[in-house]
């Protein structure tokens, strides 16, 4: 208690002297750690574990304590987190109009375990000025089931470990950490000595735990904390999602197909699956940690859905389609328990005019959702996502822009695919992204391309021509006289 106070005091002293030293170092900013040019005047860290992924919000009031304007703010991560983080977005809390913040994960020092999110401010902040940043991101695969294996009708508990002090590369003078939990049933969580009038952290109100407010903490201060909470819902995790969007101008149709590799990351069954218990639980204890069904709210006007897996059509599904909604409800062939896998495929068609329109200068613009996963109360997370937009044969200068955070897009390129009597093959735009969650569904993907008339007429002509050649050749062959003796 006392020692820590002393320690912190010392740190504060150090931080006081730091600017002077920083002045000398800033020109040659050592790559290993970001320069100490900021101070977090006030910071509120919200960790919400309500869904089966972690959503973190860092609202921080940053102050430029260096002498010259700065436009780069760094957020430290462990390498492990860096592989699981996704959907990083930064806003200016004060004015939403503030231009786009450049966000990317950088590795200043390959040797160290720490990596950084570099946030480029739209406008450099002059010395002493302050700005309120709202940084939000998701962490996937964040939980461990504890106990790791439970009975079929037991409650599932997950544990999540984090740092009571918000990870920061800068001195933080005032901060607090809030943990939002899905239920009030929290068997155990880390307790910390309180400060001020609160004698013990965290303060627990309802489904919320609050650590802090803490007084000034130095850069990189870390206080391990852990919380174990009841999460009696499936921890559904999509290791890979392949999403194909095929545009057909002749057919006036846009065909969607999505292939999911779904796995339940929750607690395994401690003993074998028991059908009797399950049948009873369906009636008596409907809330279970097994995944029973998924709802896909599709765009209105979607038609001809299908739901199959590797051994064929799955008959347990319902599709409700009307003016207002097109809801596809599918059940896996078997209830999905912890550690069980279920890969499946769904697909549907939609009228092209819902997504495709022609610009004044003859080009086309396709506007489709980047991601249309199921909408589940407990959420769902996607580790790898691959979107393939197949444009008609001969489509050229393809450009795209998406509202999905750019830090999640790992790669994009143009391929060529030959199908259905193609001669030069179709243009395919392949976008790979990672670490997305279902909150990002409906983020739109806009693809613009040119499609000249000649390209659209190519195939009919070729088919017609080849058919004609075939007929003519058969006719000629038929008239040949192959007999040896002409009788």
């Amino acid at each position: 208690m006392k020692t820590s106070a002393v320690f912190s005091a010392a740190l504060s002293l150090l931080s006081l002297v730091s600017p002077s030293s920083a002045k000398s170092t800033t020109p040659a900013a050592s790559p290993s750690t970001p320069p100490q040019v900021w101070k977090n005047a006030n910071l509120v860290h919200i960790i919400s574990v309500e869904k089966n992924y972690v959503k973190e919000n860092i609202n921080v009031l940053v102050e430029n304590i260096s002498k010259q304007p700065q436009d780069e703010y760094f957020l430290p991560l462990t390498a492990d987190e860096a592989s699981r983080i996704g959907g990083i977005e930064v806003k200016d809390r004060k004015n939403a109009q503030a231009g786009p913040f450049g966000v990317e994960v950088v590795e200043l020092d390959p040797k160290s375990n720490t990596q950084y999110v570099r946030i480029k401010l739209p406008a450099a902040l002059k010395a002493g000025a302050q700005q309120t940043l709202g940084i939000s991101y998701y962490l996937l695969k964040a939980y461990k089931p504890l106990p790791a294996s439970i009975k079929q009708d037991e409650q599932q508990f997950l544990s999540h470990s984090f740092s009571a002090y918000c990870p920061s590369a800068y001195t933080t003078s005032k901060q607090k950490t809030e943990v939002k939990l899905p239920s009030a049933n929290i068997p155990d969580y880390t307790k910390l000595p309180g400060s001020g009038d609160v004698k013990e952290f965290p303060v627990k109100q309802g489904t919320k735990l609050t650590y802090g407010p803490f007084d000034e903490k130095p850069a990189g201060a870390f206080e391990p904390a852990q919380v174990r909470f009841e999460f009696n819902k499936p921890v559904s995790h999509v290791t890979e999602l392949e999403r194909d969007i095929e545009v057909s101008h002749w057919g006036g149709n846009v065909a969607f197909e999505e292939r999911y590799t779904l796995i339940h990351r929750g607690a395994n069954l401690s003993d074998q699956f028991n059908r009797v218990k399950w049948a009873q639980s369906v009636y008596y204890a409907p809330n279970t940690h097994a995944l029973r069904e998924m709802k896909f709210p599709l765009r209105v006007g979607s038609a001809d859905p299908y739901y199959t897996d590797v051994i064929g059509n799955v008959s347990t599904s319902r599709f409700r389609s009307n003016k207002r909604e097109a809801l596809l409800e599918i059940k896996p062939r078997y209830p999905l328990f912890g550690g069980w896998k279920y890969p499946f495929t769904i697909g549907w068609n939609s009228d092209a005019k819902n997504f495709l329109r022609q610009t004044v200068n003859g080009g086309y613009i396709l506007n489709v959702p980047f991601l249309e996963g199921p909408r589940q109360p407990e959420g769902i997370e996607y580790e790898q996502v691959q979107v393939r937009v197949t444009l008609p044969e001969g489509a050229e200068n393809v450009k795209y822009s998406t509202a999905v955070p750019s830090s999640s897009i790992t790669s994009d390129d143009i391929e060529v695919q030959k199908t259905f009597l193609d001669t030069i093959g179709r243009t395919v735009l392949v976008i790979k992204a990672r670490n997305l969650v279902d909150e990002l569904r409906e983020r739109e993907l806009i693809v613009s391309y040119d499609y000249p008339l000649s390209a659209s007429l190519r195939k009919p002509f070729i088919v017609f021509g080849s058919a004609m050649t075939l007929f003519v050749s058969t006719w000629v062959l038929g008239n040949l006289n192959l007999k040896f003796t002409s009788k």
Binding site: D304, N313, G347
Partner: protein
Amino acid sequence: MSADTLQVLASAGKGESTRTILRFIILSLIAGAAIASRLFSVIRKCPLSAGSQLLSWQSRPSRRGQLSGLLRLSAFWAALLTAASFQVSRALFTNVGSPSLSQSCARAERQSRMVADNPLVDPWFNFRATKYLVANGFYKFWDWFDDRTWHPLGRVTGGTLYPGLMVTSGAIYHALRALTIPVDIRNICVLLAPAFSGLTAFAAYLLTNEMTPSPSAGLLAAIFMGIAPGYISRSVAGSYDNEAIAIFLLVFTFFLWIRALKQGSMLWGVLCALFYGYMVASWGGYAFITCLLPLHAFVLICMGRYSTRLYVAYTTWYALGTLASMQIPFVGFLPVKTSEHMPALGIFGFLQLLAFLDYVRSAIPSRQFQTFLWLFAGGTFGLGLAALVVATSAGFIAPWSGRFYSLWDTGYAKIHIPIIASVSEHQPTAWPAFFFDLNMLIWLFPAGVYLCFQNLADEHVFIVVYALFGSYFAGVMVRLMLTLTPVVCVAAAISASSLLDTYLNVKSPNAEEHPADDNTDGKKSGKTGLKSTSKPVVGIYGWLSKGTVAGAMTVYLLLFVMHCTWVTSNAYSSPSVVLASRMPDGSQHIIDDYREAYQWLRQNTKEDAKIMSWWDYGYQIGGMADRPTLVDNNTWNNTHIATVGKAMSSREEVSYPIMRQHEVDYVLVVFGGLLGYSGDDINKFLWMVRIAEGIWPDEVKEREFFTPRGEYRVDGEATETMKNSLMYKMSYYNYNSLFPPGQAQDRVRQSRLPEVGPSLSTIEEAFTSENWIIRIYKVKDLDNFGRDHASAAAFDRGLKKKKAAKKRGPRQLRVD
């Protein structure tokens, strides 16, 4: 298509070319309809349009005024047929279809439901083999050793299957790929059978045209072939089985044979031989051709109809065909070793002899010499026969193979090869089955055969022989209804067409002058001709009689169409892996337990987990669950199957070592008790027992599964052996916990089960499908404390005391 049809009709008079064009168009329509009728289970919109096309062009009176009788007929038939196909298909569709998604024509839906819903099990293996072929190429497929079946033996699959089917679809696949059509091999496999059914209709047309001058007979035959339930049963989309292409090959080979025989041309003989080779590569039923053609030749010879045509056709066919057939590893040297091929060889030799004698006779025209020669010929034939018998008995020539032999001595299979007897397809055919599969044709068929006697040319002899042969086999085995259907269609078409030609003839004769007709050749020979055809043909006078008969025939044909619709929708479109049932409110409910369980196995067990189940499910598990199995539907190793049967029918203590030795990880049983699904393992259990008893007569005894009063029961009265058998325990384990105590009810056996259900110690329940149809058990590993499983399980159940008492013997020994 309808558009250009109309063009042709409009432009055309009654030129021969027009007729051919029209005939061709109609034929293609028939083939198309035949195909479509098998596709309805998947595609819905398309056949509707096809139907409307045909009907629309048929309902053009102005056009029809100009058409010849043939055209009128064919138009009527085509329309009728399309209606037929339409109905058949609709019926098919309404029957298979998943509640929500059936609305979609989506390709994935198509492929998936189809292969899933085939009425048989073999398609799963064929599909798997085809995938292997497409993936690894032909030569690897040729020597494919499959270690995922018959664990731990494995199976030399490449050498023990008929590759024709797989190679066909593989070739189609690569051809389409070359055209950059991205078709999934699965789709090809699903749609292969319907496509070939269209070809079969075409082949039937050709074959019939060889038989009769009447041009409409061929079309009729094509129609009958197209919608006869006996053939639809094996060619609905998704029944990806050898028969799918074999029947086409059968009919086409026969056509080529007739053509070769009539023209005595070597070219057609060669073609016949090639298609025969294809047939051999495709189906074990090729032996049917191998026996039928020699028989035909023999009958012709006995009728004194030996001719150089016969000689050329037969020798060409036999020499090349046998060589071709020996290229198939599975067949190998059978054509010269086994006795089902001996007739062909014998006739071959006999023909050589006859040719020689014929030559000599032409050289030396002396009567006694001829008679001597004939005696000589007969003698040699007899000698050859005797030699054959001796060779067979001495074992130089293998006797009839079991399946084949069971066709002759029909009691044979029951005693010697219970596996064959256990297959439902190998049961004899009761008469309702005949009427069910070919309703009106069954009585048109003899009439057609009789008409063949009218002018008994060589090809007609063939039809007669085929009819006798085929109807005998069809009577012996339900399955061989398939080989009977073509000849029934042909003969029925002949009779129906001649009937209709007679009564739809526009011009009536007037009483005084009797116009001579062309088909009175029957009457020229009073002795050999038919008695009924001695008088000249006059024709039909009154319109009334014409109208009556034509009308009646129309009614019968419409009835036939409706019958086919009904049969196809009720019998042949109900898949084996997906059971459709009606909910109380009439809505359809799909029971999909098989695929549920197989998918569970596929996803949540380790890649090489060995599954033990009865052999009926081997192919399905291999195909859908993709897991190694102990036995499967290719029942090449009786002992292995008997081992499984023993494990299923013995006590746990006996079965456990067996399962350990075979590294079994999971055991799968099918249990219909909850749903009233009668095709479950308890009902098949006796076959397992019998087959096991065949190998271990001392350890497994069928009698012990019957109550003293000789009943086969599963309730409280069941024998101890029954109650302790692994199969019984696995089927009813934990079952009565579904019911209030003492109320457990088996809905298949209609019996109440004992109060306390069986308890398992060496295996544990791993998965049970939604309706309990499939139950999967995990074989426990050895106990950690080295206890035997019984006591371990007893300990877990907290029954330690009682168990201990039982183990330590009588109570008074435990005084100390």
